[in-house]
């Protein structure tokens, strides 16, 4: 039950001021995303209104409010990747999966995100699936990478 997991997290932060962001981070880490019920529980614990908690959460790029896919694909669009064709790689992934950045495929297999710099600029352009980094990407390699994570669609 998600409530017991929440209580465990809340106990860690009892009496600590300004702890709502670390709480949101831990909860997302455990549950995958922040549902409306979860936000409302966090609000009660933090003695804030639900709108305030959602206001904080929605300000930061890290927080998700919908379920994400089994595999998270991050295409780097840092400046080094941009000048080496990162946008073309993102276009290709978008085309292959049929979803835009920020979206998840219907079968919940893949979520697609764009990120600003993964820090391995010498290997640009770069994409990351879960924790595996694919470097010096070229368009024809995209399909192969996706196929290793199971057929899309």
């Amino acid at each position: 039950m998600f409530i017991t997991k929440l209580v465990e997290i809340f106990n860690e932060y009892k009496g600590e001021k300004g702890a709502v962001i670390p709480i949101l981070q831990k909860v997302q880490d455990k549950l995958g995303y922040l549902s409306q019920e979860v936000i409302s529980e966090i609000a009660k614990f933090s003695r804030m209104s639900e709108t305030e908690v959602f206001g904080v959460a929605s300000f930061y790029a890290q927080f998700r409010f919908t379920r994400c896919g089994d595999h998270v694909i991050r295409v780097c669009l840092g400046t080094a990747c941009h000048v080496s064709g990162g946008e073309r790689i993102l276009d290709e992934v978008t085309r292959e999966l049929g979803v835009s950045p920020g979206e998840t495929t219907e079968d919940y297999k893949f979520s697609l995100e764009r990120v600003a710099c993964l820090g391995c600029c010498a290997l640009a352009p770069v994409m990351v699936v879960d924790k595996t980094v694919y470097t010096k990407m070229k368009l024809p390699k995209v399909r192969g990478v996706l196929q290793t994570y199971g057929e899309n669609k």
């Binding site: 001021k17 300004g18 702890a19 709502v20 962001i21 670390p22 949101l24 981070q25 933090s46 206001g55 904080v56 300000f59 930061y60 790029a61 890290q62 927080f63 669009l77 840092g78 400046t79 080094a80 990747c81 941009h82 000048v83 080496s84 064709g85 073309r88 276009d91 290709e92 085309r95 990120v115 600003a116 710099c117 993964l118 820090g119 391995c120 600029c121 010498a122 290997l123 640009a124 770069v126 980094v133 470097t135 070229k138 368009l139 024809p140």
Partner: protein, 620 residues
Amino acid sequence: MGKINRTSKKRYIVHVCLGTGCISGGSLNIYKSLKQQVDSLKIKNVLINFTGCHGFCQRGPIVDIEPGGIFYSEVKEEDVTDIVQQHLKKGKFVDRLFYRHPSTGETIPCSRDIPFYSRQQRIILRNCGHINPENIGDYLAVGGYESLKKVLTEMTPEQVISEISSSGLRGRGGAGFLTGLKWDLCHRSPGNEKYIICNADEGDPGAFMDRSILEADPHSVLEGMLIGAYAIGANQGYIYCRAEYPLALERLRIALRQMEEHGFLGNDILGSGFNFHIKIKEGAGAFVCGEETALIASIEGKRGMPRTRPPFPAISGLWGKPTIINNVKTLASVPVIIAKGSNWYSGIGTEKSKGTVVFALTGKIANSGLVEVPMGIELRELIYEIGGGISGGRKFKAAQTGGPSGGCLPASMLNLPIDYESLADAGSIMGSGGMIVMDEDTCVVDIARYFLIFTQAESCGKCVPCRVGTRQMLIILERITKGDGVPGDVELLERLANTVKLGSLCGLGQTAPNPVLTTIRYFRSEYEEHINNKRCPALVCKELISFYILPEKCKGCRICFKNCPVGAISGGKKLIHVINHERCIKCGTCFDVCPKRFSAVVKVSGKQIKVPEKPIPISK
């Protein structure tokens, strides 16, 4: 380059770079395999150690062997056997893994002789690539925490501040405020509850200096933070680090644990009566949180929005208490200044910009990586001597410093000395240390649009000129790159840019227009070419380019036909291939895959090439 005494009994110490760049290139497997082979062969007197970022990311994965500083680059897992069998067992170097000078072809065995390293002056990065970041013993062996001891036992807070002030150290986060002055302000603020925050919320796309330092040498930063805390009178510190930096966070946590075990953290540190505690706060991904007051709001658990200053955080910051926020590189400089003295430090650099500056050199440069140079170095030396020039023999077009807040410096500025003042005069900023090099294949209008996409999305929305102005600027830039620009757009952009700069509260809005303004200043004709002739001279802007297959060069090999992701190419064996322009998405795959010896696919802008309508047989 400090040799580590603790381990000098060993015949060889092997340092495998486990920075993010080299790990992405597979160095973790190299490290494991080295360990395994040395263990199974029972080779004695060899220590397989690892380090953080070595700096020369372009040639990663890097393996460095002491003694001698033998530098093996672009190492693959298959090479491990040779390193073990030749070098570690027989003492014979594996020559084929040496760095090869790109123009002379000469092999260079030691890192200190490679131009990329030999022209640097590493103060902030002094330990990066030389010590194991997860072992406090390595840091202690190179004199770590000696400055802290000196400060706690021999110096008053006032003396520390005066030492830092006379060194001339300026904040390395971007604005370049004098660190000593800031500390002094906070030290004098009344109250006994004060805070020091290490700003590691590095958000520039294409910048990885702070992350690399935290991954390679976390203790230097932490020691600097303790010295700062002692100087201002803080007992609690925070490290605000991006959550996207898992390795940096992990190494910080390990470092904090080891500090506690050694009595460098907690109550009554080293018996001095000074108490200090550090908490890590993970930034949740908002570029604006690099701004001091926004960062404070974020630590307090609020939306990370900046507020008006004064009061400055040094007077009223976190929870309304006096607070100092210093960048990672600023703090990492502090222990060296204490150890070697302010006279030594202020002897490096220029009149107003003292010390060294770290750049993450990336883009179309031969040697991507992390470099540290004295302030005042010419842009040309940085790009051509250290950076090895432009990759692929192309021509230099511009260098962007300061990320989305900075500007593009054109070829005419290659003689510019790099320091806070001259960069500001050129319309850019020093920033935190990102430097992206662009060649003639980079479109500056597209770059301006790219940075605006970023700043527009990251604007917190508090100030209307920033929120709405960046949006309007982006709309104009988008229409220019799509070929829908109208005369007057450039002037309109300039007017908007100046309004956004004037009417924004924080650094984000005040600097967001810089990439647009500098590209207009130095490359106005390129904007005009897009607007008036619907042509992208760098052949980048998708809507303004077309691909053609030249009938006289096409050999009918079908490679482009097979690789086109949308089936826009028709053709067959021994037939001249033709691109269907209605279907073409201009991804450039055909251009990339067409064998160099044919070079049949061309990219053009602002003109048409006459080609057959349908595939026809190749004429012999």
